[in-house]
Amino acid sequence: MSRRTISLASLALLLVPASLAAQEDWRSVSTSRSYQGEEELRVDVRFGAGRLDIKPGPAGSLYKATLHYDPRGFRPVTEYHEGRLRVGLETERGTRVRTNKAGEVALALGPEVPITLDLEIGAAEADVELGGLRIRRVEVSTGASQTSLRFSRPNPEPLSVLQIEVGAAAFRAEGLGNANAERLSVDGGLGEVILDFSGEWQRDMTADIDMGLGALKLRVPEGIGVHVVKDGLLATFDSQGLIKRGDGYYSPDWDRASRRLTIRVDAALGSIDLQWVKPVTASLP
């Protein structure tokens, strides 16, 4: 065994107990509430750094939030008052937060109550599963994060606004066909944005996409009529079988398609790729 290996092993032996001791100082907090016939649940999540999971909860529950964090650097926020829920981890003033010490937040939302969701995610890894929930409005704002937003099952509630703001981040939205949204708005800054429109389409959709710098990938199920209007001189567009007609590009079956997707893209610099995928009904894997 080389001297370097021995040194590294010794260092690891010194560091492991220290990290375990630090973990022991962490705090776990869980707060939950039963569904009592609330007409709406407005959920505000503010999360700076760490890991965020949002998923559907069991029937009969309104919400359950579980937070795991280092109390020396973070302060938990779990407030519920008259149909409004605030969840998150706030940084304590005067502390230096390291990424490897960032906390975790898991939020399960009840499937019975109509939900308005407002997410602000900083430098975090976020996995947001909204399939099967009754979502009325979603606003997602991400900073330097890696975020995945999924509608694995159809949304029984019409979704009035689905607004996504992406900073310098990787963002992936899957099952947007299940979202039951009439309008999708994406404001992308830097990085890669993937929008997958698979799912059970219940209405036509218009997507307004404003991209700064980076790559935009659009995945559209076959059988959906697509109309793309592209603005922005320096962005390349791979039209994948769309036909240029008048102000934009149309899929060949646009006129006879039962469901239509209109995409208006304004991109400064970067690439726009459209891919056709096999249609997947209802639940996504």
């Binding site: 776990s28 869980s30 509430r33 529950s61 579980t66 980076g214 970067g270």
Partner: protein, 427 residues
């Protein structure tokens, strides 16, 4: 008499059977609630819960059907039930371990699972506070089950809807009544208040405008001079810090600015024009590649910070060079001041670069008839700042932040062997 009829908690049979009975009740409640799945709300046993686990605390809070709340905490060696101390524990003793295990499970349990989980929990034998917790939990949950059943029996879905409709109708009547009685009067009252505020603001504004013009100008001039003084202080402080920690590099930039002024100016101007395109192109190159995205997180804050640092460093280098040049000119006329050092150069140099601003503010105080002179001075001050910034940035780039200063050409070498001023060697 009655007391003797109640099952004793120390009786093992009672301890085993009571939770089982309660668990059966909870299970039957769950089945009943599933049968009412179409109802707008189900009668839950636990309305809300909070669990908190840390090194010093293991805390459970329950809001139960019927309005009862229960708070149990093991904190700092004491066992609390609804803020009342009921016993003691030690970290790691059987009660502490059992209670923490229960709360660990409760963290992961759903609302439906939580009541049964809490009822099934058994305190370690021999722990009096543990038995007390066990009993408190089961009694409270038993009462909550009964309350939930009563509520379920007394409020079928149809009645709930009818009650809601009646409540909505009542609220609508109240709103209409309020509008009829006082709504008009209140809205007029608010309008009068707003009008008063607007009038007060107008009067204040008119008062300000009516103040003598001379005083206003002097006030404005003094305010500007104070701001300038603050700027001077900050720049000099930064300059002193740089002299203290990196005098060699600042002198390198200053020498480059003095001996290659034109070259520094051209390079600096080019850099000023190119800095934004370089930033954008760099960002784009990093953004379009997945591998580059992590580097982007460094690039985005570091590039602007480095640019600002180079601009400030360069400006102070030019100030140092100006101060040095000024000192040499003075000493050419006479040696009334024998000592000179980098601190002095920075102090006088920054003053020299900001002098035109000060002159402009002083002229502003004199009156509107010198507006042309003030404008001219301000224009020259801004141009001088831009020139100093460009030359400074160029000098920073050419000298690699002062590590490779441009030496004076042989023609610039002083002919006399005696230096015109005596610099302090240790600063």
């Amino acid at each position: 008499m009655c007391r003797s009829m109640r099952p004793s908690w120390s009786d093992p049979l009672a301890r085993r059977t009571a939770p089982l009975l309660l668990a059966v009740l909870l299970a039957s409640g769950a089945i009943a609630s599933d049968a009412r799945a179409q109802a707008p709300a189900r009668e839950a046993v636990i309305l809300s819960s909070q669990v908190s686990l840390s090194r010093d605390e293991a805390f459970l809070f329950l809001e139960l059907a019927g309005g009862e709340t229960l708070a149990i905490a093991l904190r700092d060696g004491r066992v609390h039930v609804n803020d009342e101390e009921v016993g003691r524990y030690r970290r790691g003793d059987p009660l502490d371990v059992a209670w923490r295990d229960l709360l660990e499970d409760a963290l992961d349990a759903s609302d439906d699972q939580l009541p049964a989980l809490l009822v099934e929990w058994s305190a370690p034998s021999g722990s009096e506070p543990g038995l007390r917790l066990d009993r408190t939990l089961e009694e409270a949950l038993g009462r909550a089950v009964a309350a939930a059943r009563r509520m379920a029996a007394s409020s079928p879905a149809g009645e709930t809807e009818a009650a809601l409709r009646a409540r909505i109708a009542e609220l609508e009547r109240t709103v209409q009544e309020l509008r009829r009685r006082g709504g008009e009067g209140r809205s007029w009252g608010i309008r009068y208040e707003i009008d008063d505020d607007v009038l007060r603001d107008l009067a204040r504004d008119a008062g300000r405008r009516a103040a003598p013009g001379f005083l206003r100008r002097v006030g404005s001039g003094i305010s500007n001079l104070l701001s300038l003084l603050l700027t001077y202080g900050v720049l000099v402080a930064l300059g002193f810090a740089i002299v203290f920690f990196g005098r060699r590099y600042l002198e390198g930039v200053a020498d480059t600015a003095r001996h290659a002024t034109l070259r520094s100016g051209i390079v600096g101007l080019a850099a000023l024009f190119l800095v934004i395109p370089i930033f954008l192109v760099g960002t784009l190159v990093l953004a379009i590649s997945i591998v580059g995205i992590p580097a982007l997180l460094v690039w985005l804050p570091v590039f602007p910070a480095a640019t600002v640092a180079a601009l400030v460093f360069g400006y102070l280098g030019v100030a140092h060079a100006s101060g040095e040049a000024l000192a040499e000119r003075r000493f050419a006329g006479g040696d009334w001041f024998k000592r000179a050092n980098s601190y002095y150069y920075v102090m006088t140099g920054v003053g020299l670069l900001l002098a035109l601003y000060a002159a402009s503010f002083v002229v502003e105080m004199a009156g509107p008839w010198l507006e042309l002179v003030r404008g001219l001075l301000m224009f020259l001050a801004v141009m001088l700042t831009i020139a100093a910034t460009a030359i400074g940035l160029g000098a920073v780039l050419i000298s690699r932040a002062g590590t490779r200063p441009v030496a004076p050409s042989p023609l610039e070498e002083p002919t006399s062997t005696t230096p015109p001023i005596e610099e302090e060697g240790d600063v």
